[in-house]
Assembly symmetry: D2
Homo-oligomer: 125 residues x 4
Amino acid sequence: MKINRYVDISTLEREAKKDYIDRHSPFIHCGNSAKEGEKFTVKVKLGDEYVHPDDFDHYIAYVQLWNRETMLAQATFTPGTLGNKPGHVEVDFNIVPTKDLKLTATAYCTKHGLWHSNEKEVAVS
Amino acid sequence: MKINRYVDISTLEREAKKDYIDRHSPFIHCGNSAKEGEKFTVKVKLGDEYVHPDDFDHYIAYVQLWNRETMLAQATFTPGTLGNKPGHVEVDFNIVPTKDLKLTATAYCTKHGLWHSNEKEVAVS
Amino acid sequence: MKINRYVDISTLEREAKKDYIDRHSPFIHCGNSAKEGEKFTVKVKLGDEYVHPDDFDHYIAYVQLWNRETMLAQATFTPGTLGNKPGHVEVDFNIVPTKDLKLTATAYCTKHGLWHSNEKEVAVS
Amino acid sequence: MKINRYVDISTLEREAKKDYIDRHSPFIHCGNSAKEGEKFTVKVKLGDEYVHPDDFDHYIAYVQLWNRETMLAQATFTPGTLGNKPGHVEVDFNIVPTKDLKLTATAYCTKHGLWHSNEKEVAVS
């Protein structure tokens, strides 16, 4: 099975390809540093500039947040969570880090498979 | 199988029972009204006054958000998401409502089973 | 939120109601006894006489197997696992029991909510 | 994040490495051909010659079955499903194929991350 990885869409020429890659890519939104043992919020949001459908036969079924080889949390959706309109799937996980993080988010589209974000480093002290 | 339901702990006398019920109960934090077709954030947080362990043999494995009979989203955790220290499991779901909501949150503790929150009504217009 | 429970359909008169209840109910198929510490197969199958749709907007999203208050396993599906034709969702879990079991299966239909099976006792020795 | 892939352990020399790779790898057990529109059972079993722990801090949390880019089903476990003894996590999914399959199984160990099986082709007619 193929795993799709984010590509900087400013390097792409075709509008359709920018849209396809951007709307399927999970983006990690969080600070660059965190306090050890304290709550730290990590937003995972699909798409930066482009929205994804929330149709019954085409939706984002789940999003996972990983730290290195460890899965921290998963959010699972069923079709309709976004009201069956195109939008950005978005979930805020609250984790308590104990050491430096290397976060990756993944997302699964029922039509276009599995997508991995870029890695995001967070210094924990 | 038994389903545990939230009881107002101010009606209870025994401290141990207050702690037991409060730390296992999912609480829904969100506004009382929402705009149709717009993003609406619903926080589900376990425990109000008391914290739950995040031990390998005793942790909150998942939290679900329901609207009436429909499951909107689930967050799944593996032991350690909270750094193996007692705390409040907490996740923010972002949904797009199309009509009035009657939300219930459920939570599953690997030692003490399934817990249901009170119902929370949200007017959507 | 409402939890639907299995009712013996032979006690019902209306054909539509028999169909509705039967096709949504998870049934547990396994022996009445098991050996301690050995693999034991538990089949969870939806519907006994009637089949459930596997449409994009109407499908069985997950099945759970519980022992008393403990969730042993969950099988999650996305629409299409049954080829988008009416059928019986069916999964065989293999567990290793250490003492007597009181099993319950639950199933979630994206249109008609959560269903609980009857309890099944298994003697473990 | 790293994705671990199965390596034929007969090509390896170190016993510890054979054990490490084998016990984490999901293996797909099913026929080489299936009938279109009929139930087809696919067993996913972890480990061929070596068993994996089922400890609270070290267990197999989930197994997924994929057909090309599509996730067909997932089985989720909590620690203890195998009675907290080393064993083979094992689940039988029943799917209804509509065309040729290229199956991959994945498994997630809470200590050693994500593992992908070899691809298994199934002719459907």
